[in-house]
């Protein structure tokens, strides 16, 4: 599964820490999400998409 978290976070000038705070998770979680090392729950994926003002299916794509 690929994602555009880093791309959108950079677009909105957000640091990993700021995004983590908005979503309510720890910074490490954002790091592993961006690296594609962790598949989030539907709830977390939704929260990240909302924080990055995008749709879930645009943020995460399957190969």
């Amino acid at each position: 599964m690929k994602n555009k978290i880093k791309e959108l976070r950079t677009k909105y000038n957000l640091t990993q820490e700021e995004l983590a705070r908005r979503v309510g998770v720890r910074r490490e979680t954002i790091v592993f999400l961006e690296q594609g090392k962790y598949n989030p729950s539907l709830q977390l994926a939704h929260d990240v998409a909302e924080a990055l003002k995008t749709k879930l299916d645009e943020l995460f794509t399957f190969d």
């Binding site: 599964m1 820490e17 705070r21 998770v25 720890r26 979680t29 592993f32 729950s41």
Partner: protein, 144 residues
């Protein structure tokens, strides 16, 4: 956030109480003439737990200070995975202790391990596995 701080304070308090008990116990066994595996295991277990908790508390304190939650979905999964794998490995560790009970006892200058020592060795092994796996999964996740 306040709830997280209270939880962290409670964890730290528990760790300090454990440390105090370990110090009192070590003072008590220091007065004994012969130190063997039997009276060292009850000291090793709390020391391992204290080392693990110290790492845990420092990491979580830094996180809380910068506005992060005490735990989230990922950190819960790391702990869950580390716990389940350490439980699985402990089964093999206990088998190992059962098979090689005599050589292990000889290493510590004993003839045989009694039930308490065997249980203690099992718990020490489990604590080591848990700490090592928690550290491993925290750094190199394989939970995708």
């Amino acid at each position: 956030m306040k709830k997280d701080k209270i939880r962290l304070i409670l964890i730290a308090t528990g760790t300090i109480l454990l440390l105090t008990t370990a110090i009192l116990y070590s003072l008590m066994i220091a007065q004994k003439e012969k130190i063997n595996l039997g009276n060292l295991i009850p000291l090793i277990i709390p020391l391992l737990i204290i080392i693990f908790m110290a790492f845990f508390i420092i990491r979580r304190y830094k996180g809380i200070k910068s506005g992060m939650p005490l735990e989230d979905e990922y950190s819960k999964k790391v702990m869950l995975k580390a716990s389940s794998v350490s439980y699985y490995l402990t089964l093999y560790w206990l088998l190992f202790i059962g098979w090689f009970e005599e050589p292990i006892a000889n290493l510590f200058g004993l003839q045989h391990l009694d039930a308490g020592q065997t249980t203690g060795a099992g718990i020490v092994g489990m604590a080591i596995f848990l700490f090592a796996l928690w550290f491993y999964y925290s750094k190199k996740p394989n939970l995708a």
